[in-house]
């Protein structure tokens, strides 16, 4: 049974030998050389430092998503986002074949992209390019670069990209499995992410601080805040145990302004509380707000509005970072121009609210208290199932449906809970499945949903859920009957 314990050095090296064999570029990875390289990086290229500075100066940093198949094009893209988009932080988004460890298919994708003269992959196949290729990316830009992906087993990807000089790594054993894979057992992905976190821990112990960011939005589809927050806290705790010191916890915009600001407050306060409770008071904890992750309007003018609302709420919540969408979101992967437009729209909206008051938790007390109570219900049960161990508890919690992520593809997820919006657009839970939420909490959720049912003159039904899912792309937050 998996435990939340630090992987010992001997075991780590044994696993490592196997991991590096899984693709030829793995043979050239040296942690020692990587550490030496990181020490030469200037301050402005270090992710953890940028996050810490943002926290101290109360800034919200902007980061896009971006990645293409060919190195030179990828570099051009990042430079464009840096100059024309004025991104504060840069990404390298990894393609979907690499995320499933299908490096041969990624190789074909590179070839086909060369032939086509355009990217045939939805991201940058970092493993295929190896340390050398990835380092060219880091060398070509002047801001910190993060690896963003969706990989259940990211061990080789982490070895290569961290050695190459990337200073932040997104993902976690739950958030990069359940929403991104079909047949990966939770215990397997948790173990593989303990390895990634241990690797980050090794860099840390050698004076190189790598930022880690669990993926908050999960499926990005009507995810109740308590689920996203509980998952973030768990992944944070697991990372800390392996020696990670710089953690950015995430949350995806739900749409209701009060609920979103309350969620970031609750996330920050609860994470601090749980980290301290497990004995850690030296963690650099920051937060990231993801602009709307669900379906977008096709009309670019309307899409800009969705982006601007996300920007404003990110700022009001006091998150240190915002992940920015583009006006092409409805059609898939944006051009570099559209991507930069998303950044500029975000910058403008943030600048206009920047000097205004960040909404304080006391303004949002009802919602913050509710979310906190919900997260505590979930976390208590996770600890109980794991007899005090959060890793073992997580595996048991997914088996029991105590943790359950709506609309996720994984066969290891119950998929029993039914979330929908209330009359004011708050995401509420209609059917809790096996989530251990108290009767009092559920009564409140049902009452709020009943208000909507009454207002719309229809019974609460699954139709409301599908209406809600498509509502924003059709111009509204709540999916009202036509």
């Amino acid at each position: 049974m998996i435990k939340n314990e630090k992987i010992d050095q001997k075991e780590f090296l044994e696993i490592r030998k196997e991991v590096l064999k899984t693709w030829p570029t793995g043979q050239k990875v040296s942690i020692e050389e990587g550490i030496r390289y990181h020490r030469t990086l200037p301050e402005e290229k270090r992710f953890s430092l940028a996050m810490l500075k943002a926290q101290k100066s109360r800034k919200t940093l902007l980061q896009p998503r971006a990645g293409v198949a060919l190195i030179d094009d990828h570099i051009k893209l990042l430079r464009y986002l840096e100059t024309e988009g004025e991104a504060d932080l840069l990404p390298t988004t990894i393609d979907a074949y690499t995320r499933q460890n299908r490096y041969e298919e990624a190789e074909k994708g590179i070839e086909k992209s060369k032939q086509a003269g355009t990217s045939m992959l939805n991201g940058f196949p970092a493993v295929n390019y190896g340390v050398e290729g990835c380092r060219r990316v880091v060398e070509s830009v002047s801001r910190p670069v993060q690896v963003r992906h969706g990989t259940p087993d990211a061990r080789l990807l982490a070895e290569i990209t961290l050695a190459a000089g990337f200073t932040s790594f997104e993902g976690g054993g739950i958030s990069y499995n359940i929403p991104y894979a079909k047949r990966v057992p939770v215990e397997k992905s948790l173990r593989d992410w303990q390895y990634v976190d241990r690797l980050v821990g090794i860099y840390e112990e050698n004076g190189v601080r790598i930022n880690r960011e669990p993926f908050g939005p999960l499926t990005g589809t009507l995810v109740p805040p308590c689920i996203s927050i509980a998952v973030g806290i768990i992944e944070g705790l697991l990372a800390i145990k392996q020696g990670v010191k710089s953690i950015t916890l995430g949350y995806g915009q739900g749409g209701n302004i009060i609920q979103d600001v309350a969620a970031i407050s609750a996330l920050r306060e609860l994470a601090e509380e749980y980290f301290r409770q497990e004995g850690y008071d030296d963690i650099e904890l920051t937060t990231v707000f993801h602009q709307w992750m669900g379906g977008f309007p096709e009309d670019e003018a309307k899409a800009f509005s969705v982006i601007a609302l996300g920007a404003i709420v990110a700022r009001l919540s006091g998150a240190e970072k915002v992940i920015v969408k583009s006006p092409h979101e409805a059609m898939g992967i944006p051009t570099k121009e559209a991507n930069a437009q998303g950044l500029r729209a975000t910058r403008q909206a943030i600048s206009m609210v920047e000097d205004q008051v960040i909404l304080k938790p006391e303004d949002l007390k009802t919602e913050v208290d509710l979310i906190k109570a919900e997260v505590r219900c979930l976390m208590n049960k996770v600890y109980e199932l794991g007899h005090g161990d959060v890793a073992a508890g997580t595996v048991a919690a997914f088996e029991a449906g105590v943790l359950d992520i709506p609309f996720a593809p994984s066969l290891y997820n119950h998929g029993k809970i039914i979330p929908m919006r209330d009359n004011e657009g708050f995401i509420r839970i209609f059917n809790k499945g096996n989530l251990p939420l108290s009767e009092e909490i559920m009564a409140y959720h049902r009452q709020r949903l009943q208000e909507r049912a009454q207002a719309e003159g229809r019974a609460i039904s699954f139709e409301m859920v599908t209406d809600d899912i498509y509502a924003i792309s059709k111009g509204k937050l709540v999916g009202r009957p036509r």
């Binding site: 979907a96 355009t118 079909k182 499926t219 898939g332 559209a338 609309f407 593809p409 599908t466």
Partner: protein, 160 residues
């Protein structure tokens, strides 16, 4: 009347699961017998499921941009495995980047798909088109099946 069986799935390494769950819901309520293979389905899995369940159509989804690579040779594989008649639909965000839909449509029609849909298509209209296409292609055969309603009822539950 017996329900027509259709196969649903998201092709390749794509794990976009939300739309897939909604497609299942809509096509079931439109009177089809839906065999949903979920996300990350290979061409071979689609074809095997269609053979096992005697399906009339395969509805392929792709949201992540690799659709062009993942769908190559799909029609050939169907023919090779004896599915000469099968109706192939594909829909979603099929290529990387924003391209005019007419270009995308032509590309996938050349690859042998009968119909190609953008991500915001009205699913009830797709269901209507599917009924028409099934009638055109399988009209007589379907009628023949109706005369012997219990000829092969077990086949249809094979993939459930």
């Amino acid at each position: 009347m017996k329900k027509d069986t259709i196969i649903l799935g998201v092709i390749g390494s794509d794990c976009h699961s939300v739309g897939n769950k909604i497609l299942e819901l809509v096509f079931s309520s439109e009177g089809f017998h839906v065999v949903n293979l979920g996300v990350m389905v290979s061409q071979q899995e689609f074809v095997n499921a269609a053979i096992e369940t005697n399906a009339k159509a395969i509805l392929v989804s792709s949201l992540y941009g690799h659709g062009e690579i993942d769908c190559q040779g799909f029609r050939d594989l169907c023919i090779e495995k004896g599915l000469d008649q099968i109706i192939l639909y594909v829909g979603g965000n099929l290529v990387v980047g924003k391209k005019p839909f007419s270009v995308v449509e032509e590309k996938f029609k050349k690859m042998g798909f009968d119909r190609v849909f953008p991500p915001d298509v009205d699913l009830k209209k797709v269901a209507e088109l599917l009924r028409q296409d099934i009638k055109e292609k399988f009209g007589q055969e379907a009628a023949a099946e109706e005369k012997q309603p219990d000829a092969s009822p077990k086949k249809h539950s094979a993939a459930n």
